[in-house]
Symmetry: C2
Subunit: 262 residues, 2 copies
């Protein structure tokens, strides 16, 4: 079976299976994005989480980062209110941690070039920790990840270590991050649509050149990434500034600069 046929078979199998998540369905905020991807022959999604605020309780006997003794006190994919967190915290008897986890999306791609396009769109939309995985038999996957997190210990052995005022302050920050994450998902959707349209036009107008380009494993995008230019109408100046911050590659990191167009 050729690669394309094999990919189609896997896609059909994967999408026909039951959703095995605890929730049993795709999160509301990524439904459109998931549908856009699954509607294209070169992609299918294998897992997704739109982003969430969670309160975890880690058992006092277990290791600090041990999953077995970990209990979920609260999970929400919407902005949350202080009272819900306060009520949930009363159930903690170990080390409770409040986390904001941004979008995580795994997309299987027909070939490396498809993953490159999607990766480029993800980075331009603010999901800077995205990356490609290529399996031993060539299975190509893009993981879409943001750096936009929050992880705050709140109780120790069941004892609350912070004030209600602090929890209120923290929830505002978590909700802001949730809001920003939602904007990035919208930006991702719009940029992706734009990139796919552009690709379709190229394929129709210059099919031979496109095929030659594909064989060279080269996907042309701008030399200098500029999210505003990449899908201008969807990016505000404020968002653009925020994007710049999500970078561990600041002057604190040992770094050697090399030209971008290599």
């Amino acid at each position: 079976m050729d690669r394309s046929a094999e990919f189609r078979r896997w896609k059909a199998q994967c999408l026909s299976k039951a959703d095995l998540s605890r929730k049993g369905s795709v999160d509301e905020d990524v439904v459109e994005l998931v549908q856009l991807l699954n509607g294209r022959e070169q992609f299918f999604t294998t897992s997704s989480c739109a982003g969430r605020i969670i309160l975890l309780d880690r058992g006092i006997n277990g290791s600090e980062v041990q999953k077995q003794n970990c209990c979920w006190l609260l999970v929400t994919h919407k902005p949350c209110v202080k009272d819900d967190v306060i009520v949930a915290l009363k159930k903690a008897n170990g080390d409770a941690i409040l986390k904001f986890e941004p979008l995580v999306l795994h997309v299987q791609c027909r070939q490396l070039q498809d993953a490159q396009i999607l990766h480029s769109v993800a980075i331009d939309s603010g999901f800077r920790n995205s990356g490609i995985t290529v399996g031993k038999r060539g299975k190509t996957m893009l993981a879409v990840r943001s750096t936009h997190g929050l992880e705050v210990p709140l109780t120790h052995k069941g004892k609350l270590m912070v004030t209600e005022e602090y929890i209120n302050f923290l929830i505002k920050i978590a909700n802001q991050k949730m809001e920003e994450n939602k904007k990035r998902i919208e930006r991702f959707y719009n940029c992706l649509q734009h990139a796919l349209e552009k690709e379709t036009i190229s394929m129709t107008s210059y099919p031979k050149e496109k095929i030659k380009e594909k064989n060279n494993s080269s996907y042309t995008h701008k030399k200098k990434r500029n999210p505003e230019k990449a899908c201008g109408k969807y990016i505000t100046e404020e968002n653009n500034k925020e994007l710049e911050n999500d970078d561990h590659d600041d002057p604190g990191i040992s770094v050697t600069i090399f030209p971008e167009d290599y």
Copy 2:
């Protein structure tokens, strides 16, 4: 110029340049790993940070995530003590945040197969958010990233929002994460050495088969990832448990399962 010659030229250029980081040198905890990678013809590192605890102050006028108004009150690549944080916090006049950032390493790879091997080693060593980037002209880079973070807001408009007791508690957690990060770096070093030795043996014993395999873009590793088996002597049971936790892919995510050996 063929790809290999081009890669060698870039590697030589990159490694001969000055270290442009604020610190001006490679962090102590990754020196050996960086040397191991740069000593192999198929890799060179372009940036690295061993892991650090930082205290950032974000300006009150700026956006919460705006870099321009961001000031570093404290940076340490070693475990830190409460008093240093308390002293540094006194200088905060905006929204100060304590962060633990684990290892970040960018490695340029000669070809995709080299990135696949390195990616596999990174994942098996606990750096689960690692991923490959392939540029438009085929430049192949592996970003090594962990999920093992901490991000805690401490002041608002210069006002301390938590107690000294909480700061003490927090620093213990940050230092534990620093320690675990160091173990993972050691594990990465050992696993990498093991993988490279294995590769060299294969290349010497069965050069023809290896070349054929390489042309098929297939790199053989275990069906089921098991860090303990992957580089057994370096992994303790405790570490192994911790690895399992670093996963956003829990039942909370909408997910469809598909065989691993595709």
